[in-house]
Symmetry: C2
Subunit: 173 residues, 2 copies
């Protein structure tokens, strides 16, 4: 899928068919996340993949009001900040956002759908601990739930004019 | 450019030729940023474009050790968080990161190069104030410097195995 088209047409997908996703597609999505930029190239993101009947799916579900989405998803990627690789909260969180966006775009380009679940981090550090991870070292940053789309996404965006702090004029002659 | 290829081949570009960039390409890059996901779809990003002999180019240069890059760039996009649209620091910063990544990918797909300058926000709120903006409302999040690449980028990435908190096995039979 062409990049500019992918960026403009990707939307959060919250309903999935029961069809499985090949592990090669999951790897391609994680690979996309791997290539995100980060401050000082610190690459502080860490991934935990939950799929099939992995009991940690219900662990995640117990910590979010979006359990229905996580139960429908073919797989979920829990994305953590590794505090041993962290250096600045604002820049680390921005880099994690770039990593998440790469994964969402990759899912879309592969014909899959995905949604970034941020609300689950309101349950930090309990959710990280419940997953059996060292919550002093790892901080859950988001969960990406993904699968084959059962319904299109449809969120709107503000026009560019509202985002520009001043008008952008055309090329001068 | 195909999305997965773009994601894997994009690198920070820090050297630019003097060639100008048409405003249509700048708009395409901003449009890509506009389509990023954000918590509650709050779209808290705001853009200020600096190009040509705009005196604010030197204002930016005075607040970063990367002034050489900003002077070489055909244009720069200063990306701000609008605190009136903000709702959660971690999620807002992540969303801004997704927005920045969309812009970096779009620049790459258009055959341009770009670099995310994060170090300049160490000079907040002075830099926002020096740009003549309301620093109580707007917080500089990063500056994207962009133009025609004069040298390739080359930063390395850790292998996926180092990012996975546990091995990812192939599809079961």
């Amino acid at each position: 899928m062409e990049l500019l088209h992918a960026v403009a047409t990707r939307r959060s997908i919250r309903h999935f068919t029961p069809d499985p996703v090949p592990v090669a597609d999951i790897v391609a999505i994680l690979e996309a996340g791997r290539f995100a930029p980060s401050g000082r190239n610190s690459q502080p993101w860490r991934f935990l993949v939950v799929r099939g009947d992995d009991p940690r799916r219900e662990t995640l579900c117990a910590h979010t009001k979006y359990a229905r989405i996580l139960r429908e998803a073919a797989f979920a990627v829990a994305v953590f900040l590794d505090r041993e690789a962290a250096y600045d909260p604002v820049k680390d969180h921005q880099g994690i956002g770039a990593c998440l966006q790469n994964m969402l775009l990759a899912a879309h380009a592969l014909g899959l759908g995905a949604v970034w679940i941020g609300e689950i981090i309101n349950q930090e550090p309990a959710v990280t601990r419940a997953l059996g991870l060292d919550a002093d070292r790892y901080a859950l940053m988001a969960v990406v739930a993904a699968g084959h789309p059962a319904r299109p996404g449809k969120s709107a965006r503000r026009p560019l004019e509202e985002l520009l702090l001043e008008p952008l004029h055309g090329d001068e002659a």
